[in-house]
Symmetry: C2
Subunit: 488 residues, 2 copies
């Protein structure tokens, strides 16, 4: 016999609004202090610890009974978890293309988490759905599209996959019967495209060999002549080019492919153009930098990450399609009946037809709030500031005898290397890797490295508006000192 379930005291305590309120207020104070320390550059940017050592320290059997109370949790956060994080708002955090998130956007994620709108269908997130649609319309308008469609999804990799699935289905009807029975499909991409493009080809059953790499010029931009050659070869080999992928802000150097030329080529030849603007599409907000993206409106699909230059917490990526109907093709949703009105009209609002996700968190709120609080002009200021910082760092590097600048930054990524005269070739490459490792592990700066044409470069992404000229000077000084020590 089933006894009537009642609410146990344990469960009531888990959900009690007053417990949430009390812990919430304490957490806000803890995080506000942490944010202040970070922005002020207090403490190292990272307390580096070898992962195998950290892993051993975290090992703990599954607790059967409660181990922590609220105070204990706050203490663990303060003393263990936050200090062992990368201090994202620290002015010396110059590594990855990851936003120093707007604090208000983080608060929006709290709203998203507590309300847990699943969003798969309209009913499970009515306002979440509307906020997402509004944000997508805004982004579409910035591209220059009137009736664009799309979705928000959990990151650029999924976003690129979603766009390429639509392109694949557009090129050949493979959803039901698979890719084995159609002509081999090819994707033409810049050699600097993000790895998620090649990975998408692997996932989609085309094989990573289906990705044809197009060479770039010395500024890291796809050579349109080479694209034409690759296209002709693909046709000669009796393959179908399902998409050309241009990158607006490539990962290694931030270079922007010549979108107008590529777009015209694709238009002339009936090719699907996908623009991976995960990093750079935000330049559309800026009067100053918008021209670098001229031609983006010729794309069939665009990916645009919020958690890069829109300063959102990860992950929120927009996949936008010039034609709304294309946005249903990715998962081969026959959308024709959705546009006929009547009883099916509601289904058009069910985002799961168009996303890789079934359950999906409310992602539109934070973008909607940022644009509403700061305006497009405020958001553009963030981007302009980041791009200006990159130019300033490049200027400093150019003027410095001990450093070599790879190229003038087109966005906010700056690649360079320490250039002691005593080192050449592989020794010079190893020198960069060692410098980076030492500097990162010292906790003084966070930066990355990249290998281009077999040579290793140091790589910085200037995201944080709190990174100032003095921080750059300090970086170069630190690298120079470490470099000289290494040679001594």
């Amino acid at each position: 016999m089933t006894t009537t379930p009642t609410l146990s005291a344990d469960i009531a305590a888990m959900f009690a609004p007053e417990n949430f309120r009390e812990l919430g207020h304490k957490l806000i104070d803890l995080l506000a202090d942490y944010l202040a320390d970070n922005l002020a550059g207090q403490d190292p940017v990272m307390h580096w610890q070898a992962p195998e050592k950290a892993d051993a320290q975290w090992q703990m059997p599954l607790p059967q009974e409660p181990l922590l109370d609220a105070a204990g949790l706050l203490a663990r956060l303060k003393h263990d978890i936050l200090p062992a994080s990368l201090a994202i708002h620290h002015p010396h955090n110059m590594g990855h293309q990851v936003a120093t998130p707007l604090p208000v956007a983080a608060l929006c994620d709290l709203v998203a988490a507590l309300t847990n709108q699943a969003m798969a269908v309209y009913e499970t997130g009515p306002s979440a759905t509307m906020l997402e649609r509004q944000v997508l319309r805004w982004l579409g308008e910035l591209i220059g599209w009137q009736d664009a469609g799309g979705i928000l999804t959990s990151g650029g990799a999924q976003a690129n996959l979603t766009a390429l699935l639509a392109a694949r289905q557009h090129a050949a009807d493979v959803w039901k019967h698979g890719v084995a029975d159609v002509k081999p499909l090819r994707i033409l991409v810049s050699e600097h495209a993000h790895y998620s493009i090649s990975r998408a080809a692997g996932i989609m059953g085309l094989g990573t060999d289906a990705v044809v790499s197009i060479p770039t010029d010395t500024e890291g931009r796809m050579l349109v002549n080479a694209l034409a050659v690759a296209h002709a070869e693909a046709l000669a080999n009796d393959t179908t080019v399902m998409a050309v992928v241009a990158t607006a802000g490539c990962t290694p150097t931030g270079s922007i492919d010549p979108l107008l030329e590529i777009g015209r080529y694709c238009q002339d030849h009936g090719l699907w153009l996908h623009v991976d603007g995960a990093h750079g599409a935000s330049a559309l907000l800026s009067e100053q930098h918008r021209p670098a993206l001229e031609g983006i409106a010729l794309a069939d699909s665009v990916v645009w990450d919020g958690h890069k230059l829109l300063y959102m917490p990860a992950a929120v990526s927009a996949v936008l399609f010039r034609n709304t109907a294309s946005s249903f093709e990715a998962f081969s949703q026959d959308a024709s009946y959705l546009f006929q009105g009547g009883e099916h009209i509601e289904e058009m609002y069910n985002v799961s037809y168009r996303t890789l996700e079934c359950t999906k968190r409310m992602m539109g709120l934070k973008l909607w709030v940022a644009f509403s609080l700061y305006g497009a002009r405020g958001m553009a200021q963030l981007l302009d500031s980041a791009f200006a910082k990159a130019r300033l760092l490049a200027q400093k590097l150019d003027a410095h005898a001990d450093f070599e600048l790879l190229m003038q930054p087109q966005t906010n990524i700056v690649c360079f290397r320490h250039r002691p005269t005593a080192l050449e070739g592989p020794a010079l490459d190893a020198h960069q890797s060692r410098l980076r490792e030492q500097l990162v592990q010292s906790g003084r700066f966070h930066l990355t490295r990249v290998t281009l044409e077999g040579r290793v470069w140091l790589r910085t992404t200037l995201m944080n508006p709190y990174t100032q000229a003095e921080d750059m000077d300090e970086l170069l000084l630190a690298l120079n000192q470490l470099g000289q020590q290494a040679l001594a």
Copy 2:
């Protein structure tokens, strides 16, 4: 000439810790009040509005200048955004398999958002990586595995895709050259499997036709005899079975496939067994319900959603592999060198080798915190409570002359229908759909419907610990009243 960028007053205000603190405290109070109202069943579970009408109301041009200040934002949240959400903690929210999230877990998502650990590589989220590894070890141990490996990812659909990518690569080396040159691959799944399995086949280039549907018994469980028949047919057709997918808690009815029998069959025949335990794997926590999952340890891969019966905000799904090395196969990462130690050992900690995501939010924290604060025993209480409620509702339905229960619930999903004697066949089906629509749009309850063997059933998922016996009585009363009105 580039001028030295400085921090503008506008940008400083965006990031000011004191602004975050002030707004944060106000938001905590707003959300605590909202949570209290929800748990108490104040206000409708949803203020339903036709989406096309809502869409028109939300239309607004992209604001160039700030439209809202902090007070305005709080007002919009309170008066527009929260009321137009599905009230997830409302005791009358009985629709989807979406957790009524633990409030402390929502606070953890605030930590994740503000710290924005990208997690692609260890350096971009040291503690985030360790928390994730710890949580995965716990879940692996609950399955009964000693050296399991895996990752957390943004939802069950991506998780199933990730597991099936590993299974595909295990069956045939297709990552580089694609699926066209290998024997056709097949996936054998219960007819009640989640749509993400068939969608994964479409995505992976196999075509949705590659999914072979296995019939179920009257309790919604895969028939192992039928599995053997389908397997033999697949071999006779010269195809390769890349995976058998068993479901532990299927979407329509919550039924759990006979994992032990299926596992033994797969073991005997060298077949990859994937268990989609997105919904039901959490029963492993419960002494009472754990036996229903006997045999799960025979799986090669298991998917387990945190945002279902672990009461997490969406989305956090674990993909677990019995053999750690398998977890690298999904994206064909040649992991052999990672296990050799030396300079590559750190790379083993880079989660992007194994996830669909590149940038990924810190997902492990909230699970780690829930287990640490409440213990496995506390988490089991939540599950036991949900399952007990489902049994109670089933009992009430069984005892009620006006309702027909589809089957005894195996988890916390209960399907039934209103059974006026005057209606049969399609009219009876239409009656259920109409009842659901009316009830949902009235804002009194949220529930779903499901079509099984051509017949429409009402479907409830008992997730909320605050749903009590009286709420169930009220549901049946409301349905009966609406049903009688419809027939009058």
